[in-house]
């Protein structure tokens, strides 16, 4: 504070040097930035040139520049087509379910783990629950089929033995598609997600807890007034990042769990793009669908970030 109030005297450094000189002076830092910069230019920005085919009737034989320009035709087709409403609704419902169940799960688990005082137990539980993260969706899907198959699934048969009635085909039926997807995501991703929050929790000053205990705060009070505010920055950053990926329901998981019976609730943007683009060869249309989804994702990031700032948080940027 004091320095700011002090009259501006001769600055410590000379007035800003011309850019070239400045770059020269911090040469090593700029050099270190280069690989990252090259990565983004080559693998992230350059391919965006390909997005132009969303506005063309792309035919590989004619090339990027040779294909006829059709403007917004593919976007019109998408928005007015018979599939759009269903895909949008399916994607949004899955996104909301993710936000509701999959996003908070690691926070809850992290807080619970943080309360465990027995450190060996704590660490082994932590390791055990993040192992599923390393399994591919193919394996997770196969496990689901093995456990829930109406013919030989152990869990399905156990439930049937308890509940009775007609055997339920969990992996095929429309009504069970979304619960199964959420359960799979919870099983696979929760443990991994806790790592971030546990790190945030470790950063909370233990003296605060001691002080609170001295003041007579119980567990719940400590959680509400110390733990939660302590991890709030991490929480907000994760929320903003998640919001950008809300429409990324993931391709493999959905694709592997799709059957003839549940397709009407299973078709989402990611699987749709695959079907249109790769199996049908509708390159331009598929690109348009993908671009549309990406634009929504960007809007969601801006929106959540704006909201976070309005709520007095620092936001992502």
């Amino acid at each position: 504070m004091a320095t700011e109030l002090a009259p501006r005297q001769a600055p410590v450094e000379s007035p800003p040097a011309p850019p070239a000189r400045r770059i020269w002076r911090h040469g090593w830092l700029y050099l270190m930035v280069l690989p990252g910069l090259a990565y983004f230019l080559i693998f992230r920005y350059w391919p965006m040139y390909g997005l132009t085919i969303a506005f063309k009737d792309y035919l590989p034989f004619l090339g990027y520049s040779g294909s006829p320009w059709v403007g917004l035709k593919h976007f019109e087709e998408l928005l007015t087509g018979p599939d759009f409403a269903r895909i949008m609704v399916n994607t949004l419902i899955l996104a909301l379910l993710t936000l509701l169940f999959v996003f908070p799960a690691p926070i809850v688990v992290a807080v619970l783990l943080n309360e465990v005082r027995h450190s060996v137990l704590k660490r082994s539980v932590q390791s055990l629950i993040y192992i599923p993260h390393f399994l591919s969706w193919t394996i997770v899907a196969s496990l689901t089929y093995v456990l829930f198959s109406v013919d030989y699934g152990v869990i399905a048969q156990a439930i049937h033995a308890v509940v009775g009635g007609r055997p339920v085909d969990y992996v095929a039926q429309e009504a069970w598609f979304r619960p199964i997807i959420v359960l799979q995501s919870l099983w696979k991703q929760t443990g991994w997600g806790t790592i971030v929050y546990l790190a945030a929790l470790a950063g909370v000053d233990t003296q605060l807890y001691e002080a609170a205990r001295v003041d007579g705060a119980g567990r719940w009070r400590q959680f509400w007034h110390i733990t939660l505010p302590g991890i709030r920055p991490a929480l907000v950053v994760m929320a903003v990042l998640t919001s950008g990926q809300l429409l990324d329901t993931g391709f493999e998981q959905i694709w592997l769990m799709t059957t003839s019976l549940n397709r009407s609730v299973a078709d989402v943007f990611d699987t749709y793009v695959y079907q249109v683009g790769i199996t049908q060869g509708g390159y331009s249309y598929a690109t348009a669908v993908g671009l549309f989804k990406a634009v929504i994702g960007v809007l969601l990031i801006f929106g959540t970030n704006w909201l976070a700032k309005r709520l007095g948080e620092r936001g992502l940027y």
Binding site: Y30, V150, D151, D169, T259, L261, T279, Q280, G281
Partner: protein
């Protein structure tokens, strides 16, 4: 210095992108022919014994991209989009991406051009028609039997329940019923079923168990004439009759309960494990099942009975044929630019598909990995790791390049392991000949309706999905009819019109 590095990085980026976009400038194939082919195991080494032998025969170097079968169609579609096409490509000539690319002129139209080459010219006119795309031949078809639908039945179970081999659909129903109700595995529990159906991801009329079953009832195979107009097979009373019958089977527990989800890779498991006893598929399925039993117990393997297509209840017979081929070898124009270059390439392929080439592709090198014994090939030198590699290169890779002779036997058929297997193999040909007399061909196989190419992917899924939904009881017959109307409304009417216009 930093700015120089940045400039260098940018220059590198530009260079990379330029090379990525401009691959197609080289003229002619020169000494090397590039190919993209299906692979079923480990990829052969370019310096492998077999590749060297093939190269020596055709007098050209080969540069082959081997792509695992499971992801082949995706990779083919991506390749078609990449503007970096191989000279010769094994490809599904009916896939929308190929049709679009070919019609834009990226592949040679070979219509009428193959007759000059004795080993490339189509032998069977029906198959030649089937492999066309709207009247044009875009490739050399890879021969398969023209009919190979067959039923595999647990022979020991059939003896146990005391029923004869089926002749008709009611016969098969009685068998399925007995397999479910009469405890054919003799463990005292009612834990078996008759028919095993897997999750079918293909379109309508792609020789699924459902499609074969519908054909038996007299439904058209894909498309059929009704009152002077071509209609899709599923818009006929015969189709509905077949679905009603099959639904009865499902309702009575004669079909595996997980028919909507059972992975095709596990199709044979319930059969071998003794859970189900009937598979409606192709003739090679019977030998594959036999091999599985033989693996378990060579002494007690004779458990597979194979029968051909069935009559319907009134005694009439309709048989479900195959297309007669599987994929074609298409020639891209990327490097083969002129008619003269095309002629040169086709002459090389003609040599490859001749007798000597076919033996190399489908059997290997005589005296090295096989010897001849009464017209059969008999594997030799299996202890030599080099011979093993050679055998792998034949069976899992190069055999896929064969067009006249291929996976259905090879130039010299493999000597069967024992009598029972030999009987199953030798049953194929007479069965094919007999059922071909009543085969229901798909008249529209060579037609690709423009709307079917342009339309979204959801249209193709409507009918197969509706079928499974109806069978599982999710929708009733009115619901099934509604789905058929939805197909018409979503572009099906236009497709029907286009098919009719083309076939007129």
């Amino acid at each position: 210095m930093k700015t120089k590095t940045l400039a260098a990085a940018l220059a590198l980026t530009t260079a990379l992108s330029v090379t990525a976009c401009g691959g197609g400038e080289a003229k002619g194939t020169g000494d090397t022919i590039t190919m993209m082919v299906r692979l079923f195991g480990t990829a052969p080494s370019p310096d492998g014994e077999l590749q060297k032998a093939v190269e020596a025969l055709i007098g050209k170097k080969l540069s082959i991209t081997w792509v695992p079968d499971a992801g082949y169609n995706d990779k083919a579609n991506v390749t078609l989009a990449s503007n970096n096409l191989p000279d010769v490509m094994v490809v599904d000539e009916k896939s929308p991406s190929f049709v679009k690319t070919a019609e834009a002129g990226a592949f040679w139209d070979l219509t009428g051009k193959l007759d000059k080459y004795p080993n490339l010219k189509p032998l069977d006119p029906q198959t030649a028609r089937n492999s066309m795309v709207n009247g044009k031949t875009y490739g050399i078809y890879r021969t398969r039997p023209l009919l190979r639908s067959a039923i595999s039945i647990r022979k020991d179970w059939l003896a146990k329940v005391g029923l004869p081999a089926p002749q008709s659909v009611p016969d098969l129903y009685r068998i399925a019923n007995a397999f479910t109700e009469q405890d054919p595995d003799g463990d005292g529990k009612k834990d078996t079923y008759g028919l095993i159906i897997p999750k079918w991801t293909g379109k309508y009329a792609t020789a699924s168990p459902y499609d074969v079953f519908e054909t038996w009832f007299g439904a058209p195979n894909g498309w059929g004439l009704r009152d002077g107009r071509y209609v899709p097979g599923f818009d006929t009373p015969e189709f509905l009759a077949a679905e009603r019958e099959l639904k009865k089977w499902v309702g009575e527990g004669l079909v595996n309960p997980d028919f909507a989800t059972l992975d095709t890779g596990h199709w044979m498991d319930p059969f071998v494990q003794g859970k189900g006893g009937i598979i409606i598929d192709v003739d090679v399925r019977a030998t594959a099942l036999y091999d599985r039993f033989r693996e378990k117990n060579p002494k007690d393997a004779d458990k597979v009975l194979m029968v051909g297509n069935l009559r319907r209840a009134d005694g009439q017979k309709f048989s479900s044929p195959f297309t007669g081929y599987n994929n074609v070898l298409a020639v891209s124009k990327q490097r083969v630019r002129t008619e003269a270059q095309l002629d040169e390439l086709l002459r090389v392929l003609d040599k490859l598909e001749g007798k000597e080439g076919s033996i190399l592709l489908t059997n290997g090198i005589e005296g090295r990995n096989f010897k001849l014994e009464g017209g059969y090939s008999v594997p030799i030198g299996l202890d030599d790791p080099k011979v093993k590699v050679l055998q792998n290169d034949v069976d899992n890779a190069f055999i896929q390049l064969g067009t006249r002779y291929s996976v259905n036997g090879g130039y010299y058929p493999l000597k069967p392991a024992d009598e029972a297997k030999r009987a199953l193999i030798e049953q194929r040909k007479p069965m094919e000949t007999e059922d071909l007399k009543t085969a229901v061909f798909n008249p529209a196989l060579g037609v690709i309706a423009p709307t079917a190419v342009a339309q979204g992917p959801t249209l193709d899924k409507i009918i197969p999905d509706a079928r499974v939904k109806y069978l599982s009881g999710e929708i009733d017959e009115a619901g099934l009819q509604a789905e058929i109307r939805r197909w018409y409304a979503g572009g099906g009417s236009k497709i029907t019109q286009e098919i009719n216009d083309f076939l007129k």
